[in-house]
């Protein structure tokens, strides 16, 4: 049992980290009332920037390259999400549609520029990706240390810590209260003197930053290069995590970890007696099936922020 856990937990952690980060972005955006189906595109942008930056500046930044790449991807991700913000907040665009366009645009730009810059459809592998490490001090704790803090990516814990930070910001600070108010009843927020549009811009930019971060973490811990097939569905899984987690940062984190667990089980199953005889196809679709069952059965109706997806037009009712 311990062995199984020991092989599952690190994989869950690295698999889930990009999903957690991106889902947190989704939580911010949707809590403020802006539907963000463009998480996939934000991840694509993040992966693209993370890889290109890493390839270009590896000589300059040395071992710090992956970290600097993450920052670059975070910033560019935020800037890129500005398009979604302008369309859906200032121009009252249908937010779902704008999100779909974000997805197409990110992939288009990423691959287009890859071809223009590198003259081929995919980049080389980076020389400065993230590597796993043992977390100092914590990895010395008996049992738990071995299970959770040995041979893990720091970025996984960055994701988990950010989930708690996001929870604190959303549920304990004035900023969070205002952000949620804007997503529930923008007009009420407005009459209380809160700048609805500004809050929403900030939230969408945060989702861009976190989506970019998630995409670059994926690229620099898992994929190692960028091509049209680097990000294929992780953004949608993150969106699922947002909803599955009931628009709550810790819920979203839990959902993302759950997806990681389901994926990991489908691989590890070969060595686990109970799982061994289950047909491969069942294990393959398990993450998706379980999500559906969970939504239909255990957690039932998830209440979205009430003003989610509704542009706020001053003076209309």
């Amino acid at each position: 049992m311990f062995d199984i856990l020991q092989s599952i937990i690190p994989t869950v952690l690295f698999y889930s980290a990009p999903l957690i980060l991106t889902a947190l972005g989704g939580v911010f955006s949707e809590r403020s009332g802006v539907v963000n189906i463009g998480l996939e595109g934000l991840m694509v942008m993040g992966a693209f920037v993370g890889i290109v930056f890493n390839l270009t500046f590896a000589d300059v930044f040395g071992v710090w390259t992956p970290w600097v790449s993450l920052i670059a991807a975070t910033v560019i991700g935020a800037l890129f999400s500005l398009i979604h913000a302008v369309a859906s907040i200032t121009f009252y665009a249908n937010q779902v549609v704008s999100g779909v366009a974000i997805n197409m645009l990110a992939l288009g730009i990423g691959v287009y520029l890859t071809k223009v810059w590198y003259d081929k459809g995919q980049t080389d592998m980076v020389n400065q990706p993230f590597y796993t490490t043992d977390i100092p001090v914590l990895s010395n704790i008996p049992l738990i240390g071995t299970l959770f803090f040995e041979g893990v990516y720091v970025t996984s814990y960055l994701a988990i810590i950010l989930a708690f930070v996001a929870w604190y910001v959303l549920y304990q600070t004035p900023f969070g209260l205002r952000l949620r108010a804007v997503g529930e009843h923008p007009m009420a927020a407005d009459t209380n003197g809160i700048k609805v549009e500004r809050m929403r811009y900030i939230a969408v930019l945060l989702s861009g930053a976190l989506g970019g971060l998630g995409g670059s973490v994926f690229a620099l811990t898992i994929a190692s290069n960028f091509s049209h097939s680097t990000i294929v569905g992780q953004g949608f899984m993150s969106l699922a995590a947002v909803i599955f987690g009931k628009w709550h940062p810790l819920g979203a984190m839990g959902a993302a970890l759950f997806f990681g667990l389901a994926q990991s089980l489908s691989v590890v199953s070969a060595g686990v007696p109970v799982l061994e005889n289950i047909p491969q196809i069942i294990l393959l679709i398990a993450p998706y099936l379980l999500t559906i069952l969970a939504l239909a059965g255990f957690i039932g109706r998830a209440d979205a922020p009430r003003a989610n997806g509704v542009p706020y037009i001053k003076g209309s009712r």
């Binding site: 369309a87 009252y92 779909v100 288009g108 294929v232 109706r301």
Partner: protein, 352 residues
């Protein structure tokens, strides 16, 4: 007000397309390509001769259907992001019937087409049911259903339709939509009779939505669930119906690929993207049947023409994806276009 709205309804997409193409030209310039060459290649690739024209029609055909699939659900206030999965199962089912059944064409072909529609409908039924009965968010369920469709279809191709092969046998000629006549007049393009099915489907959608009591109910439920219930409509049934019919349209799109274009189905390592493109088509077409047809033609032509761009002008095909995305942004942000138009004709009083 109505006249003004109608004018906007036409102007907004047209302006969006123009601005999108302009943006594409700027991108080409910025990345060191000649936009005139690029667009000339695009045009040739889409409408250059009878062959490309045939291929453009072929490519447009499933886009019409996935566009309808998304638009139909939109009308009932539902977002069918699952057209992708419905396409896949529709494709699979039509091929299955095409391969496994032996019958004269008059039975076989309709049966195979129907199988595709039914499979897609079934794939829409599940999220519809969950939405109607348990209030589960259809977006997330349809996303999950897409993946399930992909994996299950691959498994069926490998283990049931073939003996661990990656592609099925071609369907019997009696189930094929291919047309030697259409091919012969288009220099062997793959245009097939499916385009007639797609156009008929557009007409059916228009008729259901605009002219029948079913459409009246579907739209009412989309606009206001409570009032529909108050008025005695069965809200659950309408939600399910909408997803099922939307799914059936998407299933037909898969059928077009199966019975029309390829005649087989292969193990897929990723999505067809027909379903996702359908979202764009539905939007540009303002969710109405006629608009969807026009939008599908535009996107079909852009995507078909893109193939000519790398060889003829050195422009990566992804430029077209960027252009399409930008067009969608502009349409979605039509407020800015309306605002600009109103500014433009300022002075004239604005009647609301």
């Amino acid at each position: 007000m109505t006249a003004n709205n109608r004018l906007f309804g036409i102007l907004v997409p047209v302006i969006s397309v123009i601005v999108g193409l302009l943006a594409g030209a700027i991108i080409m310039l910025a990345s060191g390509h000649n936009p005139i060459e690029g667009y000339a290649a695009l045009w040739r690739g889409a409408f250059g001769d009878s062959y490309t024209l045939g291929e453009t029609i072929r490519r447009t055909t499933p886009l019409i259907l996935t566009g309808l699939a998304v638009a139909f659900a939109f009308k009932t206030g539902l977002f069918n992001i699952g057209a992708e999965g419905q396409v896949i199962v529709g494709w699979l089912a039509s091929i299955w019937v095409g391969v496994a059944v032996e019958a004269p064409m008059i039975i076989h072909l309709p049966l195979a087409v129907l199988a595709g529609a039914v499979a897609g409908g079934l794939w829409g039924f599940i999220p519809g049911l969950l939405k109607a009965k348990l209030g589960v968010h259809e977006v997330i369920i349809t996303i999950m259903m897409n993946y399930i469709a992909l994996h299950v279809t691959n498994e069926i191709i490998r283990s049931i339709l073939t003996d661990q092969a990656t592609t099925t046998e071609p369907i019997a000629a009696t189930a094929s939509l291919a047309s030697t006549w259409l091919q012969s007049i288009t220099f062997y393009s793959r245009v097939h009779y499916g385009v007639l099915i797609a156009l008929a489907a557009a007409f059916v959608m228009w008729f259901i939505i605009e002219r029948t009591t079913y459409g009246y109910e579907l739209k009412a439920v989309g606009f206001n669930r409570h009032a529909s219930n108050y008025a005695g409509m069965n809200v659950s049934r309408n939600i399910i119906l909408s997803m099922v019919l939307g799914g059936a349209f998407a299933g037909l799109a898969g059928t077009m690929e199966g019975l029309g274009t390829y005649g087989t189905i292969s193990v897929m390592s990723g999505f067809t993207n027909l379903g996702f493109d359908g979202i764009a088509v539905a939007l540009l077409g303002s969710n109405n049947a006629f608009g969807v047809v026009l939008a599908a033609i535009l996107f079909g032509a852009l995507k078909e023409g893109a193939g000519e761009m790398p060889t003829a002008a050195g422009v990566p095909t992804e430029l077209v994806d960027i252009i399409i995305a930008l067009i969608i942004f502009f349409v979605a942000s039509s407020y800015i276009i309306r605002w600009a138009l109103l500014r433009f004709k300022k002075g004239g009083n604005i009647d609301v």
